[in-house]
């Protein structure tokens, strides 16, 4: 069913804030998770809100995206809370949460997932500049919203969106309970919302929203153009990465500014280990080991294991990177980590015909197998010895 929420005061932000407040007031949910400004700063983080009067600082749609909320929903659903939580997630956050539920790190039972056509994100520097130009320390959110949903763009006014978003293949809701359809909508008038599951229908019914809306007429065509644009942008990115990291030497240079802080891992919603091997004694080498490495090549850069760390991460999340770009945002050395991870993993997962977040029922490729598959990779690749 598709309902329509009337826009209030020509402000999408206000309309969505009231929508979340109504969810709390009607008891449709006990809490909502929505990005909200921290102490009136320009930065937003997902906040778990139980009080309907706390909506003013929330920024439901905007270019600030500094935490992937997928793992936050995982934290909220690891064990039963006895409460229903409405979570407002970008498409790549839904994908991340879906992947985590496959690892039994969280479950969907007690959450209602509300997702939206994505407002995309800015790099940290661009976000700060954008914010500085608006009132009250935050950029002009409503102008952003009105621009971003009118036609496929990789640039909103003067601001190029983050590279991860430029190549994002599904910036629209997949696998949500409620999908908010903004591309091509007449936003001064209404926001069309679609219930995709029974849970979603119940939620909309609780707000007396009925089947009176429809998908914005231009939306399908816009999404098709957007997908075509982004496929082309991905191909360009892929080419660039193959050149920039095509050998061990090139890879050394790509990560030469890396300081092994592992921020890219901390913020990555696809990294799933409770304890990362790079935090363990497995990589606490004896002094003699360093000397023997130095002896082998004449020198060994320290700290070492930089490329080892990144390639291990690539292997571990090779099928499940959701392309959110958080790793690039978090890197203090301005290494375009996400560009490399997106480029590599989107090819890797093709070998398993897997798309992260696509389907709850689709098992993680490395958790299953079939007896007669991939037989061509076994053996020496010749007839004499098989």
């Amino acid at each position: 069913m598709i309902a329509s929420i009337q826009t209030k005061n020509q402000s999408i932000t206000r309309t969505l804030q009231d929508f979340f407040a109504d969810l709390l007031k009607t008891g449709a949910v006990d809490a909502v998770l929505v990005p909200s400004r921290i102490s009136e700063s320009l930065y937003v983080k997902p906040c778990l809100i139980t009080s309907a009067d706390q909506m003013d600082p929330t920024v439901p749609l905007g270019p600030g995206f500094f935490v992937n909320a997928g793992p936050m929903v995982s934290r909220l659903t690891r064990t039963k809370a006895g409460a229903t939580i409405g979570v407002w997630l970008r498409p790549c956050e839904v994908r991340a949460f879906v992947e985590l539920t496959k690892l039994r790190q969280g479950g969907r039972e007690e959450v209602v997932i509300l997702s939206m056509d994505c407002p995309m994100a800015l790099s940290r520097k661009d976000y700060e500049d954008w914010a500085a130009q608006g009132d009250e320390g935050l950029g002009d959110v409503d102008t952003w919203i009105h621009t971003v949903y009118q036609k496929p763009v990789t640039q909103v006014d003067a601001w190029p969106v983050a590279r991860a978003c430029q190549v994002c293949e599904s910036p629209y809701p997949v696998n949500a309970d409620v999908s908010v359809m903004l591309y091509g909508a007449d936003l001064d008038k209404e926001i069309p919302v679609r219930a995709d599951t029974e849970k979603g229908e119940k939620l909309l019914a609780a707000l007396d929203l009925t089947d009176g809306g429809q998908e914005p007429e231009p939306r399908n065509a816009l999404l098709a153009n957007l997908t075509a644009d982004r496929t082309a942008a991905f191909q360009a990115l892929d080419e660039e990465m193959r050149v920039r990291t095509g050998s061990i030497d090139a890879l050394n240079r790509f990560f030469s500014a890396c300081v092994n802080c592992h921020n890219c891992r901390s913020v990555c919603p696809a990294c799933y280990c409770k304890e990362c091997v790079f935090n363990t004694d497995a990589v606490a080498y004896a002094p003699t080991q360093y000397l023997s490495w130095a002896d082998k090549w004449g020198q060994v850069p320290m700290p070492n294991d930089t490329v080892f760390f990144h390639l291990t991460r690539l292997a571990h999340i090779g099928c499940t990177c959701v392309g959110c770009g958080q790793c690039t945002l978090a890197c203090p050395s301005q290494i375009p980590v996400a560009d490399l991870f997106i480029s590599v993993t989107r090819n890797v997962r093709n070998a398993f015909d897997y798309v992260p977040g696509r389907d709850d029922a689709e098992p993680l490729p490395l958790s299953v197998f079939q007896e007669s598959e991939f037989t061509d990779i076994v053996g020496m690749g010749n007839k004499e010895v098989t």
Binding site: G246, F255, N304, V348
Partner: protein, 160 residues
């Protein structure tokens, strides 16, 4: 024997014997399962079947325990090739570790070539406990193949 020389971006280190000598002697790391391929290697030894001494065996309980990161580390430490070898389908002593290993090898075969590590440098074989001859033949063949491909780049310069 052809030898590919990779473009050296730094001074060629002097301490790797096989790079300073005449012929290229590759280093192969073989992760072999205790129950099948390791037993086959043992049999090859006791039967006095010869195979090149370029191969360093790492005995594991099952190919299913070879985390992709072991393979990655071996390459970054300068191995020219890596073999993972275990029991034939149906014979794995932990039921299905070898099937899981096959998916991990497929994964690595997608990732490593992106960084100039030829997919042919990574092999997966099933060699049963009584296949001593096959073990020796496989090693001989693998060493020959790698001699043709040449040394891996990580062997010639340190990886950060």
């Amino acid at each position: 024997m052809t030898q590919t020389v990779m473009e050296p971006s730094q001074a060629t280190p002097s301490k790797i014997p096989s790079l300073t000598g005449e012929a290229f002697e590759p280093v192969l790391i073989a992760f072999v399962c205790n129950w099948c391929t390791y037993t086959a290697a043992d049999l090859a030894g006791t039967s006095r079947l010869s195979y090149p001494d370029n191969v360093r065996l790492v005995r594991v309980m099952c190919t299913g325990m070879v985390d992709p990161q072991y393979v990655i580390k071996a390459f970054l430490e300068g191995a020219d090739a890596v073999l993972v070898s275990g029991c034939h389908p149906g014979d794995c002593h932990y039921i299905n570790g070898n099937y899981k290993a096959r998916r991990r090898i497929l994964l690595l075969k997608q990732i490593l070539p992106r960084f100039g590590i030829d997919a042919k440098r990574l092999r997966l074989t099933w060699i049963g406990a009584s296949d001593g001859i096959e073990f020796a033949q496989t090693m001989t063949r693998f060493v020959k193949d790698i001699k043709e491909i040449g040394p891996c780049q990580a062997r010639q310069q340190p990886v950060i």
